[in-house]
């Protein structure tokens, strides 16, 4: 197979060598439980404290507002459940969007079963939530609003700061609203300053920015109503029980610091390749459509539908040619339903099945883009030739 070109950074990223290096001492040497008093444990405690400081700096918040979790999914579960449960006396209505990650959507559905009400806001054809529509959905019972910062499938960036303004205006009228944003896809691409965005809670996942899998962050603004999701020991100031995953927490903070430091240059790099790739596909292949917002999108996201073909069959051919990409969300590939994001954007199901996402990373090069552009038209042509829907005898 020779060279492997990885273009699925939205699904996961390799751990950066410097990140792994920072993690290594905590497996076999400084392996203590940070809750213990003796030296080997205090080394672990210190590492976690420093990681918290670093993470707080990246988010422009206080270290005490950082909760380390087991990943983006836990952060989303903890945020939505934690705030909804804490506010249940005064409100039982959640507002979210129909293009959220399943970590938010399925959590909302499970809260519906527990008697809460959820509004799933529609999006426009680019996948964007309307701020007016969101404001119109707020009722006397609304307690939690959860809108992602950037979409994992199509890369569309949501108007988070504007929504925060709306939330703020309701809060000034005395309403107890909590605003959560899933920023799992935003790290490394967007500024993460929680005060600029105006969010009360924010989710991150390390493996999306060259950190380890299985570790995330929940930012929790001081004073935000929150019922702990995972209960047990008094770790994370009683807000997230469980022995701290010390190596991974160190890895997350190291990766986040790297991501923030190189954000501008990495984004520029991705954006250039992204635009070349989009241009190249549009000019080389017919009956394709770029999904997501044309400009207000993540710098590394390319998402197309190729009519008359199915996404997975493209992926398998790409893989055979040494290119790793994704069809819809990797997290839902165990399901065969077409992407809920594309459906929410108004694509017909039969078209949505033909979607492919390329998400670029620091290691991708112009040569990678050239190579992809050299083989993709042939793959699509071959599959279309096999498709019963492209047989247009005369017309």
């Amino acid at each position: 197979m020779g060279k492997m070109i990885y273009m699925d950074h939205a699904a996961t990223t390799p751990v950066h060598p410097k990140v792994l290096e920072a993690m290594m001492p905590y497996f076999t040497e400084k392996y203590g439980n940070p809750s213990s008093v003796y030296s080997v444990a205090q080394e672990a405690r210190k590492a976690v404290d420093e990681a918290r400081d670093k993470t707080a700096r990246a988010l422009g918040c206080r270290p005490s507002e950082i909760i380390f979790t087991s990943g983006g999914t836990e952060s989303d579960n903890a945020a939505v459940r934690g705030a909804a449960l804490a506010l249940r006396q005064g409100g039982d209505h959640i507002i979210t969007s129909s293009v959220e990650h399943h970590a938010v959507l399925h959590t909302c559905q499970s809260l519906e079963k527990q008697g809460l009400e959820v509004t799933y806001l529609p999006v426009d054809r680019y996948g964007q939530v309307g701020v007016d529509e969101l404001e119109g959905a707020i009722t006397d019972r609304t307690s939690v609003i959860s809108i992602m910062m950037a979409n994992n499938e199509v890369g569309t960036i949501q108007p988070i700061a504007e929504i925060a303004e709306v939330v703020k205006s309701y809060r000034q009228k005395g309403r107890n609203l909590v605003f959560h944003s899933d920023a799992v896809q935003a790290a490394g691409a967007l500024d993460l300053d929680v005060n600029k965005w105006g969010v009360d809670m924010l989710s991150l996942s390390a493996h999306k920015f060259y950190g380890p899998k299985g570790t995330g962050v929940l930012y929790l603004r001081r004073g935000t109503p929150f019922t702990p999701y995972q209960t047990g020991g008094s770790q994370e100031r009683n807000r997230r029980a469980g022995t701290e995953n010390v190596p991974n927490i160190v890895g997350l903070a190291t990766a986040l610091e790297l991501a923030q430091t190189h954000r501008e240059s990495a984004s520029q790099h991705s954006r250039r390749l992204r635009d070349r790739l989009i241009e190249g596909i549009l000019s080389r292949i017919e009956r394709v459509q770029l999904n997501g917002h044309p400009t207000n999108r993540l710098p590394n996201n390319v998402n197309f539908v190729f009519e008359f073909v199915e996404g997975e069959s493209i992926l398998l051919n790409l893989d055979f040619a040494g290119i790793a990409a994704s069809s819809g969300s990797a997290c839902t590939s165990a399901s065969l339903d077409p992407s809920h994001v594309l459906l929410a954007m108004g694509l017909p199901a039969e078209v949505a099945h033909g979607s492919v996402r390329f998400s670029l990373g620091t290691a991708n090069t112009d040569d990678d883009v050239d190579y992809l552009l050299s083989i993709l038209p042939g793959i699509v042509a071959k599959l279309r030739a096999m498709s019963p829907l492209t047989q247009t005898p005369t017309s």
């Binding site: 009519e307 008359f308 073909v309 199915e310 996404g311 997975e312 069959s313 398998l316 051919n317 055979f320 165990a334 399901s335 065969l336 339903d337 077409p338 017909p348 199901a349 039969e350 099945h353 030739a385 096999m386 498709s387 019963p388 829907l389 492209t390 047989q391 247009t392 005898p393 017309s395």
Partner: protein, 162 residues
């Protein structure tokens, strides 16, 4: 995820294409579900002399289409009628559980093609020409009877056998 045999049939599909003067045409699947299979058969003396397929779909859909053409080519209609989706999956060395229900419809298409052939013998015409261009909705409704998609619309992940 897929067995080597599936990958072989996916990358080197046997009997791709259409038969212009087909004796029978069978359709299975639904593009709304991401899979649409169309099978063409030529029959002589109750034997499937030639068979071709066109498939829009995932790896499993294309591989099962290819596999089933190999399995029934040269077989009598009676033999071909006994082919099942499960047998196709088995012949491919198994399919991932999530693919068992939705993308494993090739045997259904064979049965439909035979039905079409047998229904036509009194003098009916092939409906093949109904499938034109990208008109998906028209396409899938074009068979003699509406294909049984609906049971495939809502997928559940089956209990896997270990």
């Amino acid at each position: 995820m897929y067995s080597d045999k599936v990958m072989d049939h996916f990358f080197n599909p046997r009997n791709v294409g259409m038969i212009q003067e087909a004796d029978g045409v069978g359709i299975a699947g639904n593009p709304v579900c991401g899979d649409l299979l169309k099978l063409f058969i030529k029959v002589k003396d109750d034997v499937i002399e030639d068979i071709k397929f066109q498939t829009l779909g995932c790896g499993a859909a294309i591989a099962t289409s290819s596999m089933v053409t190999e399995m029934v080519k040269g077989k009598t209609l009676e033999e071909a009628k006994t082919v099942t989706n499960a047998a196709v999956a088995q012949a491919l060395g198994g399919l991932p559980p999530v693919k068992m229900h939705c993308s494993n419809l090739a045997a259904d298409a064979v049965h439909k093609a035979i039905e079409d052939y047998e229904g036509k013998r009194p003098g009916k015409k092939s409906r093949e020409s109904l499938f034109k261009g990208e008109a998906a909705e028209a396409g899938v409704r074009g068979g003699r009877e509406a294909p049984a998609y609906d049971e495939h619309l809502h997928h559940e992940i089956p209990e896997e056998e270990d």
